[in-house]
């Protein structure tokens, strides 16, 4: 790297960095688009590539084919994308806020709370006033309830320390997991299998109404994080230092936690608990491009979406039975993560 001496040198350096960011994000975005299109080709209803393109460009007009493409595959892939993006982004925020590589969306206990809410709905019909939105509605409500409880538990006279928040989250997560287990023991077999299936996470039933349901909280959550990219950078560099540089750490933290609850709640509501995505994806990108959230946030959104689309496509078509995608993310995600960890030398956690 040439010696930086003059102001022009610095300006050029900054512009090169900026261009690099744009190039990286654009390429990953392009990859996302091509992955999306490839995934459109795959499904249990057999359509050839030419048929898919034919329907997309309007040269083929077959009722069933159009239905499959526009009402089944397209919304499902969109749901995959936003769920993957939301979970990855939530994981990123948790890891940066708590400066903990093991942090994931479930670390605040909110996915366990959501699972419990959904289980209550499945087992006893709690929340029946929401009609067909009963299960996703309960999941979402309990997600926020848990977040509130965790925050209240962690509050002391002197404010809310990040470590205390983490501990309270782990405790509440364990508590709700216990409650779900209790429910599983008490209910009859049909309900039991539904609960277990739900906790494994799946995008099987996701169509346009799921997308419409989830897009608002997910988009709002993601936009909030986008707005707070600078603050995320500063807070991850050190909370005290961030405060000294003008960041209102307490407020920013609350807002980010709410954004996370929105993203996790919205995802869990339509797809159940899909683990590992929020742990692996941000970590992998951090290892590859470093800790600057200007890069990480868009990459986690786009990369998380790609990851989810790939996982879901494999889960639904590669085996003779359709696997719940949450099972697959754990099975495939972990070894891949270990591989990336061993081949990258850059130590980024002190």
């Amino acid at each position: 790297m040439a010696e930086l001496n003059s102001f022009e040198d610095l300006r050029e350096f900054e512009e090169t960095s900026r261009r690099k960011t744009v190039v990286i994000v654009s390429s990953v975005a392009a990859l996302a688009v091509s992955t999306f299109i490839c995934a459109m080709m795959v499904g249990n209803y057999h359509l050839s590539i030419s048929q898919v393109f034919g329907v997309l460009f309007g040269t083929i007009h077959d009722d069933t084919m159009e239905y499959i493409i526009f009402e089944v595959r397209l919304p499902r892939l969109l749901c995959c994308f936003i769920v993957g993006a939301a979970l990855s982004l939530s994981g990123l925020v948790m890891q940066s806020l708590f400066k903990n590589p093991m942090a994931s969306p479930s670390v605040l206990g909110i996915s366990s709370g959501a699972a419990f809410g959904a289980s209550l709905a499945l087992a006893f019909g709690v929340g029946g006033f929401m009609g067909s939105l009963m299960v996703p509605g309960m999941a979402f409500i309990f997600c926020f309830l848990t977040m509130g409880v965790v925050y209240m538990l962690a509050r002391t006279k002197y404010g809310v320390a990040s470590n205390t928040l983490l501990l309270a989250g782990v405790a509440m997560g364990a508590f709700f997991n216990g409650l779900v287990s209790l429910l599983q023991y008490v209910v009859n077999d049909d309900v039991l299998s539904s609960i277990v299936y739900w906790t494994m996470g799946s995008l099987n039933g996701c169509g346009w109404s799921s997308f419409a349901l989830a897009i608002a909280p997910l988009a709002i959550g993601m936009i909030i994080v986008f707005i707070l990219i600078k603050e995320l950078n500063l807070i991850s560099a050190g909370e005290e230092q961030a405060a000294n540089m003008g960041v209102n750490v307490v407020n920013v933290r609350i807002i980010l936690i709410i954004a996370t609850a929105l993203m996790v709640g919205g995802s869990v509501a339509i797809s159940g608990v899909i683990g590992f995505v929020g742990l692996i994806v941000p970590h992998i990108f951090r290892m590859i491009v470093g800790p600057n959230h200007k890069l990480l946030v868009p990459l986690c959104i786009v990369g998380g979406g790609i990851f989810m689309i790939v996982m879901d496509t494999i889960a639904k078509s590669m085996f003779s039975i359709i696997l719940p995608v949450g099972v697959l993310t754990s099975l495939i995600g972990a070894p891949f993560f270990i591989y990336v960890m061993r081949t990258r030398k850059k130590e980024i956690w002190e």
């Binding site: 089944v72 009859n188 346009w208």
Partner: protein, 380 residues
């Protein structure tokens, strides 16, 4: 950053509005053209309690046949026609006896459990029963109806004095009473009152409390009655065997566990239960033959309607919580009606794979609380 923030907020608002728009669009469109409606399949609902190896399975078969095929091809067939049709009779007409009369007032019954396989127990004819499983109560109901010359599941049968007297005297307790309410088991609700029923509070042998069972059996044996405990043997693995058998041994009550999985097993159970509860051979044979004849009529009709066709037609059966049914009896039912049972595998079937497999018969349960549109996955 202010300018960017404003742009971003506008984008968010647009997205939210778009989301609402999409949702309204999705619900506004003609639901008939979406989801599983595209299959143009026959949709039928069956009572969950009559889909296992119980006499009521004949009702399920008849209803499903009618829903899909319509009228029977020949309603005038007789039991002799059935016996003459060797293909039918050798598969569905013959059955193994689980019981033999020793001539001295005792019966030898072949009891089967997962824990100990087949065992022979000797018991006397019984007056009362503690019943853990609707197969047993339904069998007794069928037998009582035959004895009193009323048609099963008719309004008359629920008000017939003989049927009511038998059931209320014979069934003194057993599985949780609310089950009958949840699953509309009419004959129990109408003939056995909750106040006279010793409620064990559970629905399966795995959750039975030995002490409570012992009390129920003592209650059944009061007034010098011979009591029997009926329960499912399939669920009775080694962990649960003692909990269910020891109370019988300690109170001196009899026990009989069966694990029917085929249609022939239904007949075996009808005979065994009938003998144990003191019904005469004539009544028992009448019930069995009636079911056999009804079965044959369906069999005959299905054979004629499907002869010559080489295409596989699938049926798809889903429970109230969206999971695929996979019980062996469900497969038997579906195959009996001429369908391929491959889709009854308990695995997840997404909309695409169902549209690909194209099942022509969709089966749901009557106690499924979802709306038809939900079942047909319209708003996926």
């Amino acid at each position: 950053m202010q300018k960017n923030q404003i742009i971003v907020i506008i984008v968010a608002a647009v997205l939210v509005v778009a989301g609402i728009g999409v949702y309204l669009l999705a619900t506004g469109e003609d639901a008939e053209k979406k989801g599983l409606y595209k299959l143009n399949a026959v949709v039928t609902e069956v009572n969950m309690g009559q889909c296992s190896a119980t006499p009521g399975v004949i009702v399920t078969l008849e209803d499903m046949y009618e829903a899909y095929y319509g009228d029977l091809v020949d309603d005038t067939l007789t039991i002799d026609d059935a016996k003459a049709d060797t293909d039918f009779w050798s598969t569905y007409g013959t059955w193994d006896s689980l019981i033999s009369d020793n001539g001295d007032g005792t019966l030898d019954v072949t009891v089967s459990t997962s824990a100990k396989g087949d065992e022979t127990v000797t018991m006397s004819v019984c007056d009362t029963a503690v019943v853990m499983g609707t197969m047993y109560s339904e069998t007794m109901y069928f037998l009582a109806c035959a004895e009193n010359d009323v048609e099963v599941y008719s309004e008359e049968s629920y008000t017939n004095a003989g049927v009511k007297e038998f059931l209320s005297n014979a069934i003194t307790g057993g599985m949780i009473y609310s089950y009958f309410e949840d699953y509309d088991v009419e004959y129990m609700l109408k003939c056995v009152s909750e106040s006279d029923y010793f409620d064990l509070g559970v629905t399966s042998v795995q959750k039975v409390e030995p002490e409570k069972l012992a009390s129920a059996l003592e209650d059944a044996m009061s007034d010098g009655n011979n009591a029997v405990y009926f329960a499912s043997g399939t669920r009775m693995t080694a962990d649960y065997y003692d909990n269910n058998v020891n109370p019988c041994k300690s109170t001196g009550a009899n026990y009989a566990f069966f694990g029917p999985t085929t249609i022939s097993d239904v007949f075996s159970c009808v005979e065994a239960i009938g003998c144990i509860m003191g019904f005469d051979d004539e009544t028992i044979d009448e019930v069995i033959e009636d079911i056999q004849l009804r079965l044959y009529k369906i069999y005959y009709s299905v054979e004629s309607k499907t002869s010559g066709t080489t295409d596989t037609t699938y049926a798809y059966w889903e429970s109230g919580l969206g999971s695929t049914v996979k019980s062996s009896m469900a497969k038997v039912i579906v195959q009996y009606l001429g369908f391929d049972a491959s889709l009854l595998d308990g695995a997840d079937h997404d909309l695409e794979s169902l549209l690909e497999d194209n099942p022509k018969l969709l089966i749901f349960y009557t106690n499924d609380s979802r709306t038809m549109d939900e079942k047909m996955r319209v708003n996926q």
